[in-house]
Symmetry: C2
Subunit: 514 residues, 2 copies
């Protein structure tokens, strides 16, 4: 059932009289009681005069704006007439990219979308370099302001699209990794990257847009999805909400892959999670020819068994300009199946032939020749990129085996594997299995959950049950720290082959016996 983070409650109170001299605000609060299950709403000091005066001006009749906080209802405004839209913003606060939707808090509909690069990139491309930047001088303040500015631009864009004023934005739900949430709330991230990796706060209490100078109504409620640890953030909790992992009888798994691979395993009885560095190989924009999943990015590659040619499918069917995360996995799987690389991920010179170029950074394989490419130069993949991918895929598989092993669950016992994020949207599990990145399970086991981070934020805006559920969830999750896990390090070495040093683990993948 929908119970939004912010609600409009219709009020028609009898006007004050000599016989009924209740104060204006007290009258309003009292008349809301039946709609608030008998709970008197609190009014923040900054809104006391405004709410009481609006109520009187409106003739004691209209719509109360009530935030649903964890501590109970909070009355923040009174409107004489219904607003054009009671608007909330769902925000996926990513390290490289911010994505937001404007949600109608009455109908639940998504009315507009906007996205934007994270301008914190100017202070550091990755999370770690930003943490280092944050702890020097006013670094934290600069990073905080950068992300607030980005969000404010998104708010302005979304409001403009609907013809709304900024004060019409009444709530925001924020789903992001733990470090981004620290920057957003101006919290010192110093300990996030230092053993034992402790956040300042995992589950911050809701606050108001005014506290953060967000371009919204000052009393708009800011609801941040809680995190479980430094490397397991609210974006993953969103994934759990979206997948229903925590409510299912059967054991399932949720995987999110980026620079970090984050995994949660469990069912309605128990949840275990871990995260580990997967390296940047799978992040579009990091590999040399890599790019974000935009027009011209190769997203799928297949090897024509007969001709030995690569058939590349690009986003928007435009001439290829680079390779995005899912394309790289397809490509490397194809290189392996075409025997152009060996089980260690090294080019086999004889097989590669004249498509192998010598570059200052070592050999590179031409995927799309310059004359067919969009940028006027060939799209290539280098040995350096392959090595990075080998580390990433080995890390991924080692994380999965370490986690399942810790709780004594075999891969075969896993009912469903949800794959979150951009990776999950585009990846072909078949090719990831070929590489030995994901376990060799029936393909139907794998299920993408899309941008579950954004979807989780939308749920927070609309569903009280989700708000309560995710606060309880984080209490329930047992987090295993992999950064110092010996077992993980051993498994990692064994996984740096295609598909694996123990190829019997991947019966569906051709083994060339080298």
């Amino acid at each position: 059932m929908m119970k939004p983070l912010v609600q409009l409650l219709a009020v028609e109170a009898s006007p004050p009289s000599l016989q009924d001299n209740t104060g204006d605000l007290d009258r309003l609060k009292k008349s809301l009681l039946p709609q608030l299950a008998g709970q008197l709403p609190a009014v923040p000091f900054a809104r006391t005069a405004a709410v009481a005066e609006s109520f009187r001006r409106a003739g004691f009749k209209g719509l109360a704006v009530v935030n649903d906080l964890l501590t109970g209802p909070e009355l923040v405004d009174f409107l004489a007439a219904p607003p054009k839209v009671l608007a909330g913003v769902a925000l996926d606060l990513g390290t490289t990219h911010l994505e937001a939707t404007l949600v109608d808090l009455v109908s639940g509909e998504i009315l507009a979308r906007a996205d934007r690069a994270n301008s914190q990139i100017a202070f550091g491309a990755d999370i770690l370099s930003r943490i280092h930047f944050a702890v020097k001088g006013d670094g934290l303040l600069q990073l905080h302001r950068a992300v607030i500015d980005d969000i404010n631009h998104l708010c302005e864009e979304l409001a403009a699209e609907l013809g709304l004023e900024l004060v019409d934005l009444r709530g925001i739900a924020v789903s992001g990794n733990t470090t981004m949430v620290h920057f957003f709330l101006r919290l010192n991230p110093y300990h996030l990257c230092r053993e034992p990796y402790i956040p300042l706060v995992n589950a911050p209490d809701p606050c108001h847009a005014g506290d953060l100078a967000l371009a919204m109504h000052p009393a708009a409620v800011v609801w941040v999805l809680p995190s479980v640890g430094s490397y397991f953030g609210g974006d993953l909790i969103s994934g759990i909400l979206a997948s229903g992992l925590d409510q299912a009888e059967q054991t399932s798994m949720l995987i999110d892959v980026g620079t970090n691979a984050e995994v949660v395993l469990g069912n309605r009885e128990w949840l275990v999670a871990c995260a580990g560095a997967a390296g940047p190989a799978l992040e579009g924009g990091v590999a040399r020819m890599g790019m974000r999943a935009g027009p011209g990015a190769i997203e799928h590659v297949a090897l024509d068994a007969k001709s030995g040619a690569f058939r590349c499918q690009t986003i928007g069917n435009e001439p290829a300009r680079g390779i995005c995360g899912s394309g790289i996995i397809d490509l490397v799987a194809a290189l392996y199946l075409g025997r152009i690389i060996d089980a260690r991920g090294k080019f086999r010179r004889a097989a590669a032939g004249d498509r192998l170029l010598a570059t200052p950074e070592g050999p590179a394989f031409v995927v799309v020749p310059a004359e067919e490419a969009g940028g006027g130069r060939p799209v290539t993949i280098g040995q350096v990129d392959l090595d990075a991918l080998m580390r990433s895929k080995a890390a991924m598989y080692s994380i999965l085996t370490t986690l399942t092993n810790q709780v004594g669950v075999g891969f075969a016992d896993i009912h469903r594997i949800f794959v979150a994020g951009a990776f999950g949207r585009h990846i072909d599990p078949r090719q990831a299995i070929t590489l030995g990145m994901l376990p060799d399970l029936p393909l139907a086991t794998y299920q993408p959950v899309g941008n579950s981070s954004l979807d989780g934020a939308r749920r927070i805006l609309l569903e009280q049950a989700s708000r309560h559920r995710c606060r309880q969830l984080v209490q329930k999750i047992t987090y295993i720290e992999l950064n110092v896990n010996q077992e993980f390090m051993l498994r990692f070495s064994g996984a740096k082959f295609i598909p694996h040093t123990d190829h019997t683990l991947f019966p569906s993948v051709p083994f060339f016996g080298e």
Copy 2:
């Protein structure tokens, strides 16, 4: 049982580790659960970073500072070592005068006292003129700032006396009339003095000292005693708390007299209240020779039956400089009993003799001749003062009769009459009965409750039960508006005699039969 508004809760948490990676703030909140009956405390946004960082700096061991709000506990600080004093301020926010005590929130002891004239007097001597001032230009802001400045001076004085820093002041409970509370909270008082006399808010939610720029810790909780109507303020609710009127089986009455007379009648089953203008006659500092109850003020007057001389007792036994509220009642009773004034409160020239002076404002009676007085000039009472007192005493009695009549309670049914405020501390009920101001009941019926406004604020600081009780109280009180009450107007005319037109109502008072 004492449960202060602000508590220090001892915490000794296990330090974070790879096996227990709970966030700092989450760890602190969790370790407070057993002491907070399982309720997770909220943390205001502005305190999030500070609390988490102090907790870590202190080695996860020390004292949490927790506010007890209506919505539940609120965690606002963390101390490595116990403070010198966990200090709260109890404030009586009077129209003419502010009085404050510094209370040790651990022991409950009062450690210091301070008082100060209300500097809003510069903008208007009485409430009504201040309301008019408030609604013009930035009048409200000026009045608000004046009272905040006064409170800040008191805070500085109290802190200095104990050698505390201002940030050591952790909470303040404020008891004042409805208009003063509006000024304090910067709320528009426009409707307070206009029919049907509706406050913007009767029961404001607690806020933080930082919201009001009070000279205390910014997260110090500000708890304002609720009011019942424009003319029945939190100072009276304090009186109810102090008297226990609302918890007694037998019906009792609480009277507070100032420019307004406020009365509440009832028992643990029901409570009825009203208030009415009593005129300024009983407020020291308003009558021509009146003054506040300070050194040299005549507080008691007795007529020597034989010599016909007035024996005046002054505060501090100093030469008389003026007359305070209780002194005026004694004096006029003595003038009546000495037959120097008649039943209508007019001077009987023959009896007054040469002690009656002619002044530009009419006849005035010399109470203390110049040579015996402290100020070098005689202390006198004029016909104008007498006329004002007659109106005040008539108003008072009419309020009491109207109220008891409305609920069908006779004076004889009243178990106890509590008399609040400065008036209650000093008045001799015998003389007030002689004037026909208070009903002719056994003197033991009357019981002073002292500065119950200040005492109520102290209770709010120390007792959770009182905080809950007073919020429930205001819901329970039926308020009768006298400003437009026809019965009251009729009774008022009848009461403008000493003791009353119907002298049989006052069997204990000599009736001279004029």
